[in-house]
Amino acid sequence: MNYDVVVIGAGPAGMAAAVKLAKLGTSVCVVDEQPAPGGQIWRGVERNATSPVFNALGEDYQKGSFATAAFHAAGIDYQPSAQVWQIEDGWKVFLTAEGKSRCITAKAVLLANGAQERSVPFAGWTLPGVMTVGAAQILLKSGGMLPEGDVWIAGAGPLPLLYATQLLELGGKVAGYIDTSQKPSLKALSHLPAAWRDFPGLMKGLRWIWKLRRSGKLIRGIHNLRATGEGQLCQIEWESKGNTHKRDAGVLLVHEGVVPRIHETMALGCDHDWNDQQKYFAPRTDEWGQTSRKGIFVAGDAGGIGGWKAATVSGEIAGFGIARFLNIGIDAEKLRRDAALDDRRKRATALRPLLDALYAPPQTPIADDVVVCRCEEVSAGRIREAARASAPDVGAVKAATRCGMGPCQGRQCGYSVQALVAEVNNLPVGDVRFFNIRPPLKPVTLGEIATLQDVEL
């Protein structure tokens, strides 16, 4: 199939862009690996409208109903449950749905593929019972699943706070909430005046913290958190003020912020910049969201973490940018001004410098015996050893240890390996490059590729 535009991701950014593009008369196809539109924030919003979890998920979640309704009404070709695993020049987009592969072509591609949680290895993080806060929240949005037993939350950032309040609202129980964020620095507080521009956002955060304090389960000032158990999480341990603490635990949910999903833009060879405060790479774009590769656009969290409001605005901007690129005779600058998109973006990102400064990624070195690459079970010690024996290059470490070669293709270990190579070589982290990402972006079975022969390329 041929389209003007293929949009990858039906979250706030992808939907906003697709709706704009369809209204401007272009042919749009939106591909998403989830079975329904909404992205991360609004996952399952249509199905949940009649579920008991709908109220507990809160106002921001409920707003997703309007966005998905507008999306369905816009006459967009929407392909759910379809995973994109390769993008080739000319733009050919290869995807798999229900075990069958297809190739669709387009003049422009918008990557609105969002973010993933930052993975921070610690002792015991591979034990069954340990998972991310985002994972638990997805379970809540997908099947109304609540964790049972001694449930611990350990992390920093808005998502664990939001999840904890959603859980408590639904009658779930939390044994304890370990806040791993550092004490707010003066630098963080200096961002407060700008944050007031997003007053409701700030109030929401304060309300979450207040609710948690009142529950008496907030623990702070800890280090060296670890999970223990034989083949299953049984206890968590940590150090605080010189003492070791141990608690029974059935579920441990961890979270240290989110980072853009960059495998797609990396594989396409787009230029990326290093965000040293948040320690992630993001594709470099112009003011319309176009990357260094002509016709490849990025919007939403995939281009740098900004939250759903900023994602919506950047989706609209990229929509106009793509229409401009397609040369369909519109005045994109005027449309952008009329919709006050730059003002809206300023407001939507007002809280971000405060959040980024408050929740800087943890910088604690990973202990040698901790598994860093979950797929190939490579420890930090082995990565350090390989890094000492080679040039400061993650590729050499990968070849020597197999880390990053498993099915997740470095999505979990990438930044940790980069940080370890930097540490061993005494280099700033941003000076070490990321894994070299090659297609397929997701492991594709030979059976899936075989189905491609049936289609015209």
Binding site: T132, G143, M145
Partner: protein, 99 residues
Amino acid sequence: MFRSVTAGLKEQADMTVYVNGVATPAWDGETVASILLRVPNVGRQTPVSGETRLPYCQMGVCFECLAVVDGVSSVQGCLTPLKNGMRIERQRGRREVGQ
């Protein structure tokens, strides 16, 4: 480890799936990955040390949720919604990767 809020409200489950051959009630909206968390002994075994893993991210970026679904191995469980009658078994060994 997890239970559905709907489980207490509805008299009957929305569907039945077969986990390692055992009939298991399931709820609309659930994925294969959520079954792996609810039912013992279906978590994937790592090809390196053989230890058991359970879904970690639920959003397609860790591959800890691989399972054999209706006879097809290496299915990413968190991206696979449950269907009535689905058969789910434990994944052992490496995933076959296309070149």
